[in-house]
């Protein structure tokens, strides 16, 4: 049974995501760390990316689950690839775009680009105009789509994520703490 390749017999190779816990050695040496990025810069980039995804998701009126999915995708991607070779912002946009599709609330790439643009360029006093449809826009758009393809490839299409939030709320109910709104909100 199976196929013989180079003296080895392959009958079945399955890549699944039964457990989403990374082994400690991979956590300690992320691809960015291997390329010499300091741990605290990496941490900051991760936090910043997740904050961008959250802020943009709110403006795009996405359900919270889409932002959570986008953030998980973002974190996982940067355990496959480094911040040095991949633009954090581009990946964040691709994560949010992909997450919106996964959670069945799709948003157009154009809207995502505009919202990120708005977040970057708006100040307290003025709101940024939508991005002009010029060559910069077109190349950014195709880069987001390319980043999305790379995300899918790196994560092996394991993109449907079971979030812990509901489980936490359930535990709190069991522990009869559901009236502790502070805890529930934290979940």
């Amino acid at each position: 049974e199976g196929i013989l390749i180079g003296g080895k017999r392959y009958s079945e190779v399955t890549i699944t995501l039964e457990t989403c816990l990374l082994p400690p050695e991979r956590l300690a040496r992320s691809p960015s760390a291997v390329l010499g990025l300091s741990a605290d810069t990496e941490e900051q980039l991760r936090i910043r990316g997740c904050e961008e995804i959250q802020a943009a998701g709110i403006l795009l009126r996405l359900p919270q689950v889409a932002m959570a999915t986008g953030q998980v995708l973002f974190q996982r991607f940067f355990y496959c690839k480094s911040f040095i070779r991949h633009c954090a912002e581009m990946v964040a946009m691709a994560c949010l775009h992909l997450a919106s599709k996964i959670e069945e609330e799709p948003r157009r790439v154009r809207d995502i680009l505009n919202v990120f643009h708005h977040l970057k360029h708006s100040t307290e006093h003025r709101t940024a105009k939508p991005m002009p449809l010029d060559s910069t826009y077109i190349s950014m758009k195709s880069e987001v789509i390319r980043a999305e393809r790379q995300l899918l490839k790196e994560l092996g299409f394991c993109v449907h994520i079971k979030h812990p939030h509901k489980v936490i709320v359930m535990y709190l109910q069991v522990l009869e703490c559901e009236r502790n709104t502070k805890l529930v909100q934290k979940a």
Partner: protein, 383 residues
């Protein structure tokens, strides 16, 4: 019979992105981290560890030939779906026949939702009623999914028996379909698309067929929930039993009109909240009364009619679920054992479950379903 092809997924066809070091500095320096996190980070000093095995594993899969288009020989077109074209092919690795599903990637919005769902879910599923996904080839213009090859899909099957299926086969096929749906699958995942039905584009730019859509969706509900599929299952039950599609509308309005003419125009009683639906009100449909389904599907028995009726309910809360429908009286005649077979076993692993010769069949049944025997590993799919 025996299926021993590897269930494998690999992604090696993307080019490496060019290194852009300037982007390293895209972080504003004013982000402040809580001290305890900083301390933690400093404690986790990088230790020397062995190189990641993933790269080498991926490389070896690539060496074998997975994830490469050259590994598969195209033999001919099997059909054209709403968002993909399916070819018959042969794997040079296993010499097995495969189905190659080519999904065109429009550069507008990246990978289509349906394709992501299809890969992400099917990849982890091993079920006798679900087609196995063997490989994925992801390139710039196209995403190709390599599936196990099935001899016939429902449309071909219906064509071959001149649209007159044996009613006992209808029951077995329905059970298989519902078994698949009772798991993680959605009807859309079965690639349900008829060449004749007019595809339409949704707000998210996805191409879908109208014929199997429930009125709640046609009237603007964007909420995806399982009752949507169960409506489609009802349409398929009708189609298998009569040989004709149930509601072959070519526009949303026509589709709704066909539904209401048969099932009655919805009222507050049959469909709570309908009178407040702006879209429904704007169409100004006449007040049709519901017709008796038995007059339209005379070959279906009383239990079958009852199942069909509960599948085609307007109120999504009352529409029967996949799990509940497997226990419907319609399937009682299949026996009790059918509920205890493992997911990975086909219903044909039971001695009592056999397909009958279809009355409308051109020749003997076997030449169209040569592998439909009771091989335990044979995966059956209605689509």
């Amino acid at each position: 019979g025996e299926v021993c092809s590897p269930t494998l997924v690999s992604f090696m066809c993307c080019k490496f992105q060019r290194i852009d070091v300037s982007k390293q500095m895209s972080l504003p320096m004013d982000i402040r981290l809580p001290p305890e996190i900083l301390k933690k980070l400093q404690m986790q000093s990088p230790e020397p560890c062995k190189p990641l095995s993933r790269m080498s594993r991926r490389a070896s899969l690539s060496d074998i030939g997975f994830g490469k288009l050259e590994t598969y020989v195209k033999l001919g077109k099997l059909g054209e779906g709403t968002y993909a074209t399916v070819f018959k092919g042969r794997s040079k690795l296993t010499e097995n026949l495969v189905a190659l599903k080519e999904i065109r990637l429009e550069h507008e919005e990246g990978a289509p939702c349906t394709a992501i769902r299809e890969v992400s879910l099917l990849k982890n599923l091993k079920h006798a009623n679900i087609v196995t996904l063997h490989d994925i080839i992801h390139t710039d213009r196209c995403l190709t999914l390599v599936f196990e090859y099935l001899d016939s899909d429902l449309k071909q099957y219906l064509d071959n028996c001149r649209n007159i299926m044996s009613m006992s086969n209808v029951k077995v096929f329905m059970f298989q379909l519902l078994r698949g749906l009772a798991g993680e699958l959605k009807l859309a995942d079965f690639g349900l698309a008829r060449a004749k039905s007019v595809p339409t584009k949704t707000y998210s730019n996805e191409v879908v067929t109208l014929w199997y859509r429930p009125p709640d969706v046609l009237l603007g509900s964007t909420e995806y929930s399982t009752p949507i599929d169960m409506w489609g299952v009802g349409c398929i039950l009708y189609e298998m039993a009569t040989g004709r599609p149930l509601f072959p509308g070519s526009t949303v309005k026509e589709e709704l009109h066909l539904i209401f003419r048969l099932m009655g125009t919805p009222t507050e009683e049959t469909c709570p909240g309908i009178t407040a639906n702006e879209e429904f009100r704007s169409y100004l449909f006449p007040q049709y009364r519901a017709q008796a389904l038995i007059n339209h599907v005379p070959r279906l028995d009383t239990e079958g009619i009852d199942l069909l009726t509960t599948l085609l309910l307007y109120d999504t809360r009352k529409r029967i679920s996949a799990e509940a429908s497997l226990r419907h009286a319609y399937f009682l005649s299949l026996g009790e054992d059918i509920h205890s077979i493992p997911d990975t076993a086909s219903v044909f692993s039971l001695k009592d479950i056999q397909l009958q010769k279809d009355p409308g069949h051109r020749s003997s049944f076997d030449c169209f379903f040569p592998n439909s025997g009771r091989g335990k590993n044979r995966r059956q799919s209605v689509f």
